[in-house]
Symmetry: none
Subunit: 131 residues, 4 copies
């Protein structure tokens, strides 16, 4: 279970990482149902990334996989090509979403958006590790 307190700890760690690499981010945390627990947009972060961060968190929980890995299977010729058209537009297939794992089960996810794919993934990783 991901409580609001958990979400805040995750977001705090992610924010710290974002500050370290000098790139303001949108950070979102979803629970086991894929529903948003909390979101923050750091000052100066892209407004187009609000939606993306929330959707990366959803996607990562929806398929119990990082969006970085999902991306590999979702390119043209990949086995999941076209998955981005599912779930009413809620699927994001590029790096920045990572599942939150508790006792070996996925119980939620973090989604980060605001920089390069590599940066988003690194910030999400920092958040996931704080869980």
């Amino acid at each position: 279970m991901v409580t609001l307190k958990d979400a805040r700890r995750i977001i705090e760690a992610a924010e710290k990482k974002a500050e370290e690499i000098g790139q303001p981010m949108n950070i979102a945390v979803a629970d086991s149902g894929g529903n948003l627990v909390s979101h923050v947009r750091m000052d100066g972060a892209w407004i187009g990334s609000i939606d993306i961060s929330i959707k990366k968190a959803y996607t990562s929980r929806a398929f119990d996989i990082s969006t970085k890995d999902l991306a590999e299977y979702s390119q043209s010729e990949g086995q999941f090509f076209g998955i981005h058209a599912s779930n009413g537009g809620k699927i994001m297939i590029f790096a920045g979403g990572i599942p939150l794992v508790q006792d070996g089960r996925v119980v939620g996810a973090i989604g980060v958006s605001g920089g390069s794919g590599e940066q988003d993934h690194a910030v999400a990783e920092a958040g996931a590790e704080a869980f």
Copy 2:
């Protein structure tokens, strides 16, 4: 301007009020562009209210009015009846959204959802006052 720091102060005050009245809430803060700065879902708050809190914040900034007041004009027979169908479904026309005012100008809004209209409005008011 509504910074993330401002949003957190506003949300903290709103959460405190929600705890006082014993009703867990979704609380969202939007900036002058109507774009989300931060959102929290208190433990146990309705999942259907995530979306509503964000949309109340948007609506309140979009028309520089509390959604409680907008509601009056948006009922059947009212002069704005049908406004909820505008803006791609982002408009909410019941109490819980309040503009954030700075130097006489609306610079953002808070949106609250999770209880009765009266409760939502009271919690939003507590948040707005902390700005």
Copy 3:
């Protein structure tokens, strides 16, 4: 928690009730995240009610309330008027959705559609009681 086995027991009871009153129904069961666990369309039931049954289940869990009760507050002049425009069109505000309660907490919902509001509610009730 609502397992597939639970969902099948709930649906079986609802189907039995639908047969008793002689009206084929769509019956859907959602879990605590509002996500679909199972759906059946009885032979001859309306195809327009597939979507409605799934959305009634979602709505009932999203706000922890029967859609029959929600309907009362969601008419023009009611405190939740306009709520049907939230959550990306997933909200249904007429009878047929009932929360599933376990140890005093809502852990899912049943949604029924295919007859009059009264019939839908009665069938949903039979399903919820089997949980």
Copy 4:
């Protein structure tokens, strides 16, 4: 014609296959109109695959083809590239959807989602064979 009884037999066979390969699945059956007859989410199956299983069933009936075969023509440079943007987002172009055939005519389809493309297709095949 695909009755609810047929759908249940198809789903039962598909579930059995999913258990054999040890991957929980979402399984959906659609009728000749492409409309959902029944859906089940096995415990532990991905929540993002609910929608996908239903859409694979729709797609497979909509074009009277397995989604595995449709996928071949729908990649970048393929003759149907872009087809996933048609039908209001109801089209899925990766393996797991298979038509249900009766007396040489397609009368419905099964859609499976929850594992790799190969797994989804194998489970769908087991379901289709039970028809």
